[in-house]
Symmetry: C2
Amino acid sequence: MSPSSKLLAGVELGGTKCVCILGTGPEDVRALERLPTGDREETLRQIESVLDRWRSQHGSLRALGIASFGPVDLRPGSPTYGFITSTTKPGWRNTDVALRLARKLGVPVGFDTDVNGAAMAEGRWGAAQGLDDFAYVTVGTGIGVGSIVRGRPIFGMNHTELGHIRVVRKAGDKFAGVCSFHGDCIEGLASGPAVEARAGQPASQLPPDHPAWDYVAHGLGQLMHTMVLTTAPQRIFLGGGVMSAQTHLFERIRDELRRSLNHYVEGTELEGGLAHYIVPPGLGTMSGPLGALALAADAEQQAMHQPPVATAASR
Amino acid sequence: MSPSSKLLAGVELGGTKCVCILGTGPEDVRALERLPTGDREETLRQIESVLDRWRSQHGSLRALGIASFGPVDLRPGSPTYGFITSTTKPGWRNTDVALRLARKLGVPVGFDTDVNGAAMAEGRWGAAQGLDDFAYVTVGTGIGVGSIVRGRPIFGMNHTELGHIRVVRKAGDKFAGVCSFHGDCIEGLASGPAVEARAGQPASQLPPDHPAWDYVAHGLGQLMHTMVLTTAPQRIFLGGGVMSAQTHLFERIRDELRRSLNHYVEGTELEGGLAHYIVPPGLGTMSGPLGALALAADAEQQAMHQPPVATAASR
C-alpha cells in the first residue's frame, strides 16, 4: 500500500455518543462506527479497539483527529495538555485523551473541541469554504460554538466556551436552568436537556408550537447577538440534534437576532432577512465526525513542518 | 531632513474629544493637541489644520493613523469604507473620515476603532508586549473593546462591538439604560453617561460607596465573563475615564468575574485573585492617542508590501 493511499482517522467524543470515522473526506468515508459514551475507561478502550481493527484492515494511518466535548486543555506545555478537564459530564473530569491515543498510534494527532473541529470541517469541505471568519454552533446535549478567525479557531489562554455565556432572559422565563456550573447560562437554558427539563419530554419530540420554544429561540437569538458583536462572523452555522430536529427554530432565531441588534450593525451579511446568515451546516449531521477528520488533516499538515515528537503536544 | 527622521501622526477621534499626536512612540511624542468633538465638519477641519501645521513645522509625515469611535466601516471595497456609520453620536452618522484625510495627506493611512488602536498600542509599546491574545476595554463616554487574536484585531464581516452586548442585570437593577439602540446593553448600563443618569452626578465625582457602582461592577463583570468565554484573552486591560477615575472598580469587577465563572474555566491566568488578569493599561490614559500612532506604524509597514494606492482602503 503506497503512503498516499493511507487513510486519516477521526474520533468525535460526544457527550452522548462517540463516532469513529476513517477516510480522507466527506466523499471518501471508508468506515464509521458509533459507540455510546459511557464509563470513560471502557469508552476509550472501545475506541482504541476500533482504531486497532482499522489499522489491521486498512494499514497504518496518516494521522488521527480527536474532536472532543469540553472543556479540554489545549495549552501547549501544560501538564494536562490533551485532557478533558472541568466537564459537567460525570466521571470524565481530568481524563487524558489526546496523549493516550497519540502514544498508542504513533502518528500525528490533532486535538480540539468538537465544535472547533466541526467548524474546521465546514471550512475545509462544507458550506464555509472560502470564508475566513465564521462560526459553527451546536445545540444538542450541550451548547458549543467553534469560532473561526482568519481561518483558525480562536485560542487565547485556552479554547473558547460560548455555551456558558449568560444571556438576558425573555420576560416571564423563570426556568432555573440545568447547567451545574452556571444554572441559567445559555447551555443551561436552551440545550436539549434544558428543553426536556422545561417541557417534560425530549426536545426532539416537542411540537413546534410548544411555548418552551419561545424561550429557547430568545436565548439562542441572544447568543447570536453576542456572537455578532464579539467576533463578527461572516456566517453562522447552527447544527446539533436540537437544530436538526426542530428546523422551525432557524426563522425564530433570525427574528430574535434582528430585533435584538436593532439595525446597529450594518453589513451585507445581515441583509435579506438573515436567511443566508443563520444557516444549517453544509455537512449536515456529518459536521461533527468530519470535524475529527479535519483535525487529522490539519495535524498531518502541521507535522510536515515540525519535528514529529512535538506534533501531539502542539497546536 | 532624512526619511528616517520623518514622523508618524495619529488622530484619536473620541466621542467627547479628539487628540492629535505626532511622534514615533511613547518615548518620542513631539506634539499633542486636544480638540472638543463638536460639529463634524468643523471638527474635521480643525484636525486638518493641526496636521497641516505639523507638516509645515516638522516636514512631511510617514503615515497617519486614525483611531475612531464607532461603528466604522472597515470592509475593504465598501463604498463607505473609512466612514463612521451608525453611531449614537448626533450629527456624525455616515461621515467619511479615513479617505478624506488620506486624500489630503497622500501618505499611508491606518484606520480602525479607537479600542482596536489602543489594544495595538498596548501590544506594540505597553503592557501587552509579548501577548498574542488580549483585549483592551474602555469604559468612558461609551464602552468599547478591542479584541486581539493572534496579534491582530478580530475582523469578520466588520469590526467587533462588544460594548453593545446585552448582559444579565444584577437583581434589583431597574435602570432603563441609556443606549439609543439597545437601552440596557452594557454601554447603556455602565458607561459614564449611564452612571451619571443613574446617580445624578458625573461618574468621575461619584463616591466609591455609591450604590450605583454595585450595578456597574456587576455589569462589567458580566462583560468580562462573556469575553473570557468568547475570545479567552490572556489578559484584559481596563481603561477609559470611568476606570481611571474609579480604581476601586478593578477589585469589584474581579470579584464579579470570579463569582460568575464559578471555576468553570481553568487557566493559570485566572489564578491569584485575577489581580494580574484584569489590569489597567500599561500606557495609562495615553493608550488612546498612542493607539492612533500604532495604527500609523502598522499602515506604514503594510504599505511597504502593497501598492501605495491600495493602502488607505485596505487593512
